[in-house]
């Protein structure tokens, strides 16, 4: 009886642990997919201005290496990518004031893939960002492109 209980207990714990571990690896798998798609999208949509290594272009386009800024603005990134950006912003303590075009053609999934790629490259490492969070973020975009 006691042995049976113990066995049951071990099986339960192992199952829960197994579920947890497989969940984690599913997220890792997702993130890997997002990263590779995000990279191709970055090359087509972003690299021209923001550069191969996210280094930016003079004072025309800000670098994407300011982890703190990216973290603070994480919830706004979807809106910025989708609707563009105008007005003054500060990155690495430097002021940038150019117009970023809107990429309205991107789906929520593609925006998420870009966010995952950018926030996990160029010295950033901020983990996964599933597309449903992008959908959520896009509901709260400011009416103008100004932030």
């Amino acid at each position: 009886m006691r042995l049976r209980n113990l066995t049951l207990c071990i099986i339960t714990v192992a199952t829960i642990l197994g579920m947890f571990l497989s969940c984690q690896s599913q997220e890792e798998l997702d993130m890997r997919n997002y990263l590779s798609n995000g990279r191709s999208l970055y090359e087509v949509k972003c690299r021209n201005c923001h550069g191969e290594q996210g280094e930016g272009l003079g004072e025309l386009a800000p670098p994407l290496t300011d982890s703190l800024s990216l973290k603070k603005k994480k919830k706004q990134l979807s809106c910025i990518i989708k609707n563009g950006l105008e007005g003054e912003i500060q990155v690495h303590g430097k002021v940038y004031n150019e117009k970023m075009p809107a990429f309205t053609e991107l789906t929520d999934m593609e925006v998420a893939q870009l966010i995952v790629y950018i926030t996990n490259s160029f010295g950033n490492s901020q983990g996964h960002y599933p597309y449903n969070r992008v959908t959520e973020d896009l509901k709260n975009c400011p009416s103008s492109a100004q932030l």
């Binding site: 690299r47 021209n48 201005c49 272009l57 003079g58 004072e59 025309l60 150019e98 075009p101």
Partner: protein, 207 residues
């Protein structure tokens, strides 16, 4: 048998040497022979006058006896211009301070890219020397010199994202105002080749 092989090999070698003049770039564009003359007349860039980033007229005189790289762009361009100018900037940095090499960027956006706007753009790109000039001119003059003389296609197009379509050629002009090369400014490898060809061209004129 062996001798004839050697002879053949030498013929091939001579043929190759004849068709390729080492250390000399080709001359592009239509050519002609002036009536009563025997010399070939090559296509040259005609005289021009545009306003530069300081609102000062810039004429062809500024490029007299110089090698220069010309291109066409506009400041609000988000497609190929940033990468063109990123690559052109590496050339500018490589030849910075060399009085024999100049750079000339023409805007194709007559309405928006006034000289003051060009000045700001240049500063933000990190260009503060007269060696790289950014010029503005009436649309018909700029478009005409682009297509007829530098052989670069430019066009206003309301269906394009930014309202213009144009080619990203960086055109290499020699001190005799002739076209000596055109390079895709969006590709780092092509820009690398241009960097070498500028040196080749400078060497050609040193002789």
């Amino acid at each position: 048998m062996r001798f004839s092989n050697l002879f053949f090999a030498m013929m091939v070698l001579f043929a190759c040497a004849a068709c390729r003049q080492p250390g000399k770039l080709p001359i592009y564009g239509p050519r002609d022979v002036a009536p009563g003359q025997t010399d070939t007349v090559y296509k040259t860039i005609p005289p021009f006058s545009f306003l530069n980033q300081d609102s000062v007229p810039l004429t062809q005189d500024a490029f007299k006896g110089k090698v220069y790289v010309a291109d066409f762009f506009f400041t609000s361009c988000s497609s190929i211009c940033p990468v063109m100018h990123r690559n052109m900037k590496t050339l500018y940095d490589a030849y910075k301070g060399n009085p024999d090499v100049l750079f000339l960027s023409h805007t194709i956006d007559e309405k928006y890219d006034k000289p003051s706007r060009l000045k700001k753009y240049a500063q933000k790109l990190g260009v503060d020397e007269k060696q790289w000039q950014f010029v503005w001119g009436p649309k018909k003059d700029v478009y005409s010199i682009a297509e007829k003389d530098y052989l670069v296609a430019v066009q206003e197009d309301s269906t394009a994202r930014d309202g213009f379509v144009h080619q990203g050629w960086l055109v290499l002009i020699d001190p005799d105002k002739r076209i000596r090369g055109a390079y895709d400014g969006t590709l780092p490898e092509q820009t690398g080749k241009l960097k070498k060809d500028i040196a080749t061209l400078l060497a050609e004129y040193k002789k």
